[in-house]
């Protein structure tokens, strides 16, 4: 029997709604207001291409599971976009110009290897452990030579109630901030950028 399109559309809407209810969404991000100049600011301005971030996580559909009911925890925005936005903020804050596409003086590329929230124990003292792991590489925009690459891992531990969405977000925000600050204060990375020609 051929099903009418309205019936199929209704099923799709229902499935979408059910999927929405079956997940817990947290709005993880990197605060622009707290961004500061670090070692990348100790050089003349470059035109920087921040390449799209590649998602190399094992589980791309969630960042953890609610300890109370096991429902998947997801981010409000795609994880690669969150990481890329954080990198763009850092580059711009340090006085460089982020350009949309090549040619630039420098190409910053990043892979997300982990973006995960674990919960240990249970009420009233659940310990959350947030981990963000990224691999960053610096390429000379003129020659295409890869100048530098390194992995950065930011981890945050926090004790909170088992169903605290605020804690989930705070833990992941801080884990991301620690990762990005390690990038921003890495003297070897700054040296690699400084070696590129303007």
């Amino acid at each position: 029997m051929r099903r009418p399109p309205a019936f199929v559309a209704g099923l799709l809407v229902l499935a979408g709604t059910a999927a929405g209810c079956a997940t817990r969404t947290v709005d993880v991000g990197y605060p622009a207001a707290e961004t500061k100049k670090a070692l990348l600011g100790n050089m003349a301005s470059r035109r920087v291409v921040v390449a799209p971030v590649t998602d190399r996580r094992g589980d791309k559909h969630r960042i953890g599971a609610s300890p109370k009911d096991g429902k998947p925890i997801v981010t409000a925005r795609p994880v690669p976009d969150i990481v890329r936005d954080a990198l763009v903020l850092e580059v711009e804050k340090n006085g460089h110009q982020v350009v949309a596409a090549a040619p630039g003086d420098v190409v910053v590329a990043a892979d997300v290897e982990e973006f995960w929230l674990d919960a240990v124990g249970r009420s009233p003292a659940t310990q959350y452990v947030g981990r963000v792991a990224i691999a960053v590489s610096i390429t000379d925009g003129h020659t295409g030579d890869r100048l530098w690459s390194r992995r950065y891992v930011g981890i945050r531990r926090q004790t909170a109630q088992p169903d605290s969405k605020h804690a989930w977000r705070d833990v992941m925000d801080v884990a991301l901030a620690r990762t990005i600050r390690d990038v921003a204060t890495d003297p070897d990375l700054a040296l690699s950028v400084a070696r590129t020609q303007r």
């Binding site: 500061k36 100049k37 670090a38 070692l39 600011g41 100790n42 340090n94 674990d118 919960a119 240990v120 124990g121 249970r122 310990q127 452990v129 981990r131 792991a133 891992v153 981890i155 945050r156 531990r157 926090q158 620690r178 600050r181 390690d182 921003a184 204060t185 003297p187």
Partner: protein
């Protein structure tokens, strides 16, 4: 009990509770990092202070809690006996964890010294300070007079901690650290930071128990990571100051 008496008692309770609440002092204001004040700092002495407690924190697991709940379901006089049973369980668990910690701690590692050395090395590599000297005591004489600022580092706790639950629980080394930068001339605190630092590597508790060398290495690694993280936060707090 009459309704009037109940009301009086309820009001008295509310009064006592509100009185207690209002008498609690507000928490002291946190020191805000001052990038301007850090800008002029060139010569830094880094000092290790305070005691460090080594712990192996397994904590309660979902499974152990479930078993305890099952047992306590059958206990009579629940209102009285259940809290006592939970308290006893907590004390016994804490004692066992203490025993486990004593057998795991590497005796030749001084956590504050490892963090201080890593912190000083990271600051030296990053370049914003001209001179960084690590010490295990407060500087005196010329050592003190020549310093622009003193950074005091504390490692209140370090050890092993469960970081993932499941069929095979995984454990990682950790260090909780605090740092405070004080201007030598004025005593003004210009930077303060505390951080929970966790080793990215994760292993089973059995692996740690079996291999003392591995345990020592993981613990030293996390202390060095703590030193680098603190340095990273201090450099970031300078907000681009050269």
């Amino acid at each position: 009990m009459t309704t009037a008496l109940r009301s009086v008692l309820a009001l008295a309770l509310v009064f006592v509770v509100s009185g207690c609440a209002s008498s609690a002092p507000p928490p002291p204001p946190r020191v805000q990092p001052s990038s301007a004040a850090i800008t002029d700092v060139r010569r830094v002495v880094v000092v290790t202070t305070g005691e460090s407690k080594f712990t192996v924190m397994q904590g309660a697991t979902k499974e152990s809690d479930r078993v305890l709940d099952e047992v306590l379901k059958w206990v009579p006089y629940k209102n009285i006996l259940v809290p006592i049973a939970r308290a006893v369980y907590g004390i016994v668990s804490s004692f066992l964890e203490g025993e486990r910690a004593a057998g795991t701690m590497p005796r030749d590692v001084t956590p504050g010294t490892v963090v201080t050395d890593a912190f000083a090395r990271a600051l030296q590599a990053s370049g914003p300070f001209n001179q960084i000297v690590g010490m295990d005591r407060e500087p005196v004489g010329d050592e003190r007079r020549l310093a622009d600022a003193i950074v005091r580092l504390t490692v209140p706790s370090w050890g092993l901690m469960r970081v993932r639950e499941g069929e095979a629980d995984v454990v990682a080394s950790f260090a909780d650290v605090r740092a405070q930068m004080v201007l030598r001339e004025t005593g003004v605190i210009v930077w303060e930071h505390e951080e929970d630092v966790t080793h990215p590597g994760r292993l089973s508790l059995e692996a740690f128990k079996r291999d003392r060398g591995l345990t020592r290495q993981e613990l030293v690694d996390v202390l060095e990571r703590a030193g680098r993280r603190l340095a990273s936060e201090l450099i970031y707090a300078r907000d681009g100051a050269r």
